[in-house]
Every structure is written in structure tokens, then in C-alpha cells.
């Protein structure tokens, strides 16, 4: 009797155990358990610290934000538009109404639902005075039809909408939190629905994130569909390239974004470190002011494009951590155009001679008694100063005297408002064709954005046309014309596409990165 009862208890106990453990194994494969146990803290080395974490009040983006916020739509490594908060979408035939179907049950970290209403609020708030209001300038209205159906009604067809709702500036914030914290939103906290929860920010030093244990709505192209493995993620802001290198090699950092070209060979030789080199979304170029002599002559500008030995710069200065640049858009971005320019001093000399420049006794170019002497501006950042130094020497080879002038990063942007620039080294980071509009539309001359000061009514007309094109193909077609024309005008001398170089400790598994971000959701320690 006694023993029977005990047996019954034992059977009951074992049965309950089985039920429980099967429940647990549904949520937690043994694989996940070991991964979570091994993955306690991840340290990511970043270069620059953001000013605030609110996308409404700054256009600086930062990697931690990608872990805190979801977007309406995500973009995978091949730049395809994929699900995020929205699981699917469709466009009306006239291109004016976009309907997004959202995943149910998505929650912000503060416990409020991330539903169609919340997304609509984000879009409208950004459009009406947010820092990146241009993202949604085509949006007439955002309507939450029900909790999982969002309709965006556009003023005009805007095929590039998916790019705008999926880029780094369009993370979805908790409306409740934004209103609750007011001015302090993005300063003391930031609340999204992503795999990580904001915990602490020591300004200028590091940001700490904690795992969101409820996260089950990751994009389908992530291998991890549950919560992240790492409990804590620390983003450290480290301006010194060599310090980042040393920290990774010593294991004091796990991931380095933006690896310096000088560190690549050391990392490749280190068995504890894995290097990932993918083509990036940045271009370093030399801009020429088309309104000031000597670069007001298109022949002189074209000559500048012929004197640069890009292959040598790519190989010897950047050790292959990128590609030689011949046109104005980065390698992944359409429309790519065949550039007429190669390294050809003969052609450069002919063009310069055509423009009336002849060499004097000292080997310096002269025209009407004036020497070809210019000031080359650059920001005092290593790779740009290096390029300036090489260009200075290459200009000297054809008889041009260039003096380099460095500016600190605080003043550089402002200097272009003066219009005193002659030649200048710049970098841009963007992966859409509309960057050409941004830098060449004449309406942005006064603000110092259109730094070459090109003022061309045909271009301005094409820019307006392009943004109103009904399909992406048409838009690309217009931008192809623009791109070809700009290459001929040669107000930019494209030089180098820095690659996206990242490195991480070899004991990390699940490395999954796009142009913008290393997804920590998938990452675990082996």
C-alpha cells in the first residue's frame, strides 16, 4: 500500500518532470542553453560616440540603436528588403498607397504594444519636424487600419519608400516613452522593441545594453528566432585605431567595427581573430570648386581625374582594404556608370595644355603669369590626410603646387559655407543614388552642402523629376543621366571606396552582418 502510494507519487513526479522539461525544451534547445551559458558579456569597439540616441533629434546613427529598435522593414546583407516589424507589404497600382501587415504581439521594452498605431505615430512625428523629416516627406498620411495593418498614403509615387523605412534613421520608438521623457528621451533612455534594452550610457565612453528576454519577433533572415544569447552588450567608444587593435587581440574587446587598414594584416595573422571584409557604402573623393579658378575650367577638372593613380593608393596606402573608385556611387548602389578616367598623365597634360597651362622653368604650371598653386583642404583624419598627401605629390608630378590645409572636424563642415574652398578631400557614407541630388542640387549651395558649388538648372530639373518617377527603374534611368553628366563635369575626383572591415574574436559564432550593423541577436560564444 505504502509502496504503491510512493510509486504513484514517483510516477506523478516523473510525469510532471517530463511535461515541464518538454515545455522547457520547446523554448530552449540544448544548443541554446549552452550558448546562453557561454555568452555573458560582449564588448564591441566603436569609433565615435553618438550625441543622442533619439533619431528625432539627431541624424547621427549608432550601432547600439540597431539593437534597441526594430524598423518597419529590414534589409539583409544582400540589400534585399525583408520583414522586421512588418511581415509583408503591398503597393497599390498607382503607387500611392502602401499597405503593411505587421507581426502581432510585438512589444516595446516599456510594455506598450508596438502596433500599427505606434508605427504611424513614429512616421508622422518624424515627418513633422524630426531631424530626418525628409525620410517621410512623400507621406501624406499614416493610418492604422487595425492593430496589425498600417496604410501609408503618399503625395506622389515614391518607389524608394522601402529604403527610407529600412535605413538606420527609421527605427521605431515607443511613443509612450518619447512623450514621457520629453527632452530627456535619447539622453537618459531610449525605448524600442529590439533584442536589447538600453541600460546605461556613460557619455563619451560606453553604452551598456541588457538582453530583452521576451524577444521573439526577429527578422526571418536571422538564424536566431528567440531572444539574444548574450546577456549584456557593452559598446565602447574608442577613437584611437591602435587601441582598438590591441583590445581585440588581447580579448578585452570581442568585435571591432571599422577596423583600421593598418590592423588588417595583424588580425589575419592572429588565430584568435576573424576578419570580415565586405564592400562598404563610403566614398573618399577630392571635390573641386567649379566657381573658382583654376577649377572653373572643366578641362582642368578632368585632368585632375587622370592624374590619380588609384590602384597604387588602394594597394600601398590602404593595403587592399577597399576598392579604387572611378565613379560617384558606392559599389552596391545603382546606377553604376563606366568612368572615362584612368591613370593617364599624357591625357592630363594634354588637357592642361589645352586649358592654357604651360610649364615654366621650375616645372610649375603657369598661365598668364599665374602659377598653378592651390590649397587642398582636408579634415584631420588619418585616411583623408594620407590621401591628401598622395594627391599633393601626384599634382606636383604634373606641375601643380598644392598646399595642404587641415581642419579639425568641428570646423570643417562649416568652412564650406564661405565658398573659399578650391580642392577638398571629403568622405560620404550613403547607399542610395539620391546622394547625388544631396551634393549637387543648387539649392544647397548656401548651406555649404553643395560643396563644389555646381549650379546647373538642367541638373536641378532632373533631380526633381527623378524623385517623382513612378518606378525604381525610371528613377534609376534619370539618375543614370545625372551620373554620366556629373562624371563628365568632373567636379569630384573619386578616389577610394573604403571597405567595411570588421574583426571579431574567433570564439564567437553566428556572425551575421549587413552594411550597417553586426547583428548581436545571432551572435554567441562557442
Amino acid at each position: 500500500m505504502q509502496s504503491k502510494r510512493i510509486t504513484a507519487y514517483v510516477v506523478l513526479f516523473v510525469g510532471l518532470m517530463l511535461v515541464f522539461s518538454s515545455l522547457i525544451t520547446v523554448a530552449q534547445t540544448p544548443d541554446r542553453a549552452t550558448r546562453e551559458a557561454n555568452s555573458t558579456t560582449l564588448v564591441v569597439a566603436e569609433t565615435t560616440s553618438p550625441p543622442t540616441l533619439s533619431t528625432f533629434t539627431t541624424t547621427w546613427t549608432t550601432e547600439p540603436l540597431e539593437d534597441i529598435l526594430n524598423k518597419l522593414v529590414s534589409r539583409d546583407a544582400e540589400l534585399n528588403y525583408r520583414d522586421d516589424i512588418a511581415q509583408s507589404w503591398e503597393v497599390s497600382a498607382d503607387g500611392l498607397v502602401w499597405t503593411f501587415t505587421l507581426k502581432p504581439g510585438v512589444m516595446f521594452h516599456d510594455g506598450t504594444p508596438c502596433d500599427a498605431e505606434a508605427v504611424a505615430w513614429n512616421i508622422v512625428t518624424m515627418r513633422d519636424g524630426g531631424a530626418s523629416s525628409y525620410l517621410y516627406s512623400a507621406v501624406q498620411d499614416a493610418v492604422a487600419v487595425d492593430s496589425v495593418t498600417l496604410k501609408l498614403i503618399l503625395k506622389n509615387p515614391f518607389p524608394n519608400l522601402l529604403y527610407n523605412v529600412s535605413n538606420s534613421f527609421s527605427g521605431i520608438n515607443s511613443p509612450t516613452a518619447v512623450e514621457k521623457y520629453g527632452e530627456d528621451y535619447g539622453v537618459t533612455t531610449v525605448v524600442g522593441s529590439g533584442p536589447y534594452i538600453f541600460k546605461e550610457w556613460v557619455k563619451g565612453d560606453h553604452i551598456t545594453l541588457e538582453r530583452n528576454p521576451d524577444y521573439t519577433w526577429g527578422p526571418s533572415w536571422m538564424s536566431n528566432q528567440g531572444p539574444a544569447y548574450f546577456q549584456t552588450v557593452i559598446y565602447k567608444f574608442i577613437p584611437e585605431a591602435v587601441t582598438k587593435t590591441m583590445l581585440l587581440q588581447a580579448g578585452e574587446a570581442d568585435v571591432v567595427n571599422e577596423v583600421d587598414a593598418t590592423a588588417i594584416s595583424a588580425f589575419k595573422a592572429d588565430p584568435n581573430v576573424t576578419v570580415s571584409i565586405t564592400s562598404g557604402k563610403r566614398l573618399i573623393y577630392m571635390g573641386l570648386n567649379v566657381t573658382k579658378p583654376p577649377f572653373d575650367d572643366v578641362r582642368v577638372r578632368q585632368a585632375m581625374s587622370y592624374i590619380v593613380d588609384r590602384e597604387s593608393i588602394t594597394e600601398n596606402v590602404f593595403h587592399g582594404a577597399g576598392l579604387s573608385a572611378y565613379n560617384f556611387l558606392t559599389p552596391n548602389v545603382q546606377p553604376q556608370v563606366e568612368s572615362p578616367y584612368t591613370y593617364d598623365l599624357q591625357k592630363a597634360n594634354t588637357l592642361l595644355a589645352d586649358a592654357g597651362w604651360t610649364k615654366n622653368a621650375d616645372g610649375i604650371l603657369e598661365k598668364d603669369g599665374q602659377q598653378f598653386a592651390i590649397i587642398l583642404w582636408t579634415e584631420s583624419i588619418t585616411d583623408r590626410v594620407q590621401i591628401a598627401t598622395v594627391l599633393q605629390s601626384e599634382m606636383a608630378a604634373v606641375g601643380i603646387k598644392a598646399t595642404i590645409q587641415q581642419f579639425d572636424s568641428g570646423s570643417y563642415g562649416d568652412m564650406f559655407k564661405t565658398g573659399e574652398q578650391q580642392a577638398f578631400i571629403r568622405l560620404y557614407g550613403w547607399d542610395d543614388m539620391d546622394i547625388l541630388e544631396w551634393f549637387y542640387n543648387s539649392k544647397r549651395i548656401a548651406a555649404g552642402t553643395n560643396k563644389t558649388r555646381m549650379n546647373n538648372s538642367l541638373l536641378d530639373f532632373l533631380f526633381v523629376k527623378a524623385e517623382a518617377m513612378p518606378t525604381l527603374e525610371d528613377r534609376t534611368f534619370v539618375y543614370r543621366l545625372v551620373h554620366e553628366y556629373l562624371l563628365d563635369q568632373s567636379a569630384w575626383v573619386p578616389i577610394f571606396y573604403p571597405a567595411q572591415v570588421r574583426a571579431y574574436r574567433a570564439d564567437l559564432g553566428g556572425y551575421n552582418a549587413t552594411l550597417d550593423h553586426v547583428y548581436i541577436l545571432d551572435l554567441y560564444r562557442k
Binding site: 528625432f56 539627431t58 519636424g129 531631424a131 557619455k203 584611437e240 588581447a250 570646423s411
Partner: protein, 307 residues
Amino acid sequence: MSIYQYILKRILMMLPVLLAVTIIVFSILHLVPGDPVRLALGEMASQQAYDRMRAELGLDKPLYIQYFSFLGRLFHLDLGKSVIYREDVTKLLGGKLLNTLELTGSALILSYFCAVPLGMLAAVKRNTVIDYLSMGLAIAGVSIPSFWLGFLLISLFSIQLHWFPIAGYGGIKYLVLPAVTLGFGGAAQVARMTRSSLLEVINQDYILTAKAKGLRYWTVITKHALRNALIPIVTLLGLRIGWLIGGAVVIEIVFLRPGVGRLLVSAIYMRDFPIVQGVTLILAVTVILGNLLADILYAVVNPKVHY
């Protein structure tokens, strides 16, 4: 004028100096190109967001009004809000100041604890190998660029020997290398000062008398000679404080310590004037008080000086 009147006068003198500091900082930051609002928002930010932020921070008002409202807030010990981080400067500075004090304080202590015995040894054993070695080390100390020394120490002690972490913050093991780097130059000067002032005292009559009375040599050195020799060394202390905080800028960047020096540099580049004003004021007060201390001690040592 008594020494007390002199101190009072100097403290009163601080006010115009500090006022001048704020005026100069304010003018420089408005004179050099660079727009903190544009830098905080980014180049692509909308005009609307830009205008709103300028208005919020009062930057759309005439410069003199901006300056006076800054002064007005200063009387309530309110340094305003950082343009870039949009946080109260006093709050931002608090933790970082502590961090910098920890670094400079330990560098100071380290340099005195190593340098005074070294200088004494050199003086006592003067013209021996010990003297040459320690003075050679001291002169090398003032001759090395500090950021280079920092990187060299990291390569040796962190990368080769794994004794200390490379960079970061938290706990004593993170403090050793930066404190040594910062203290090295200071230690060199203190050691040389100790040696020369001790040498000066050693040959004076009362020391010779003490020696003649049969007191033990080291007792004479530590009890009699050092006490007198210490005064100029302590004078140097006052001057070192400002120097150390200035030197901390580079050390904090190399060793990634979140202190006021690193904050100051980034704030200058971002034209974040509330932060720059705040840090500069704190530096100014520290340096001036340090100098005052040096002055007072100088008067104590040299009775010929009166004010």
C-alpha cells in the same frame, strides 16, 4: 601686508581672472568656425529641427545676451546643458571629474613616493653610479612625449607581459599604467629638485654640526636635512597640480579613461561650449589655487620676500 592679507587679495583676484577665462573661452568658441547645433544634428538634419534646437538652447539670441545668461546661471552653480549630449553639464562633469582626480592624484602620490627617496639617494650617494643612474632616469622622464611613453608601456606591460589591462576604467589594475605614465615626467622633476635642495642643505653648518655630534648619518639626513630640503619640493607641488591636469588630457585619450580631459577635447572639437566653459572653469580654479599654494610656500621658505 601680512601673508593673510596677501592670500585674501589673491583669492579676490581670482574673480576677475575667472571672469576673463569665461569671456575668452566664450569668444574663441564663437569666433572659430563650427556650429555645435549642426554638429549635433548632423548635416542632413531638417532646417525645422535645426531652428527648434537653436531656440531651445537660446543660441538664436545675440551673443552678449547668451553670455550674460550663462553668467547668471553660473551664480546658481548651473553650467547649462551640453549642446551635443543635451545633459546638464554639472551632471556630466561630476563622475568624470572624480575619475580625473583619481588619475592625477595617484600620479602625484606615485611621483612623490618614488621621486623623493630617489632624489635623496642620489644626493647622499652623489657622483656614484647610483646618482648617475637615478638622475639619468629622471632626465629621461622629462624628455619623453607622454603619449609615446603610454603606448610603449601598454606594449610592454599589457601586450607582452599581460600584467595590466590595455585600457579602460575600473579598479586599481586599470589605474597603474596611466598613473605611471602621467607621474613619470613629474617624478623626474621632483627627484632632481630633491637632489639639489638636499645637496644644498647637507653642506650647511648645522648639518655638519649634527654630524660632528655623532648622530647617525641617515638620522641626520632624514630628520634634519630633508625637513629643510622638502620646502621647495612642496612648493613644486602647487605648480604640478595644473600641469598634471593638463597632461591628463593626452593620457585619458591613450588609456580610454572617461575623465574631464577627454571630455574637454571632444567638446572643443564639437564646439560644445557649455562643457568647454565648465571644464575650463574647474581647471582654472584648480590651477590658481595651486599657484597660490606655491606662492605662500615660497614666502614661507624665503623670508626675504614680503608682499
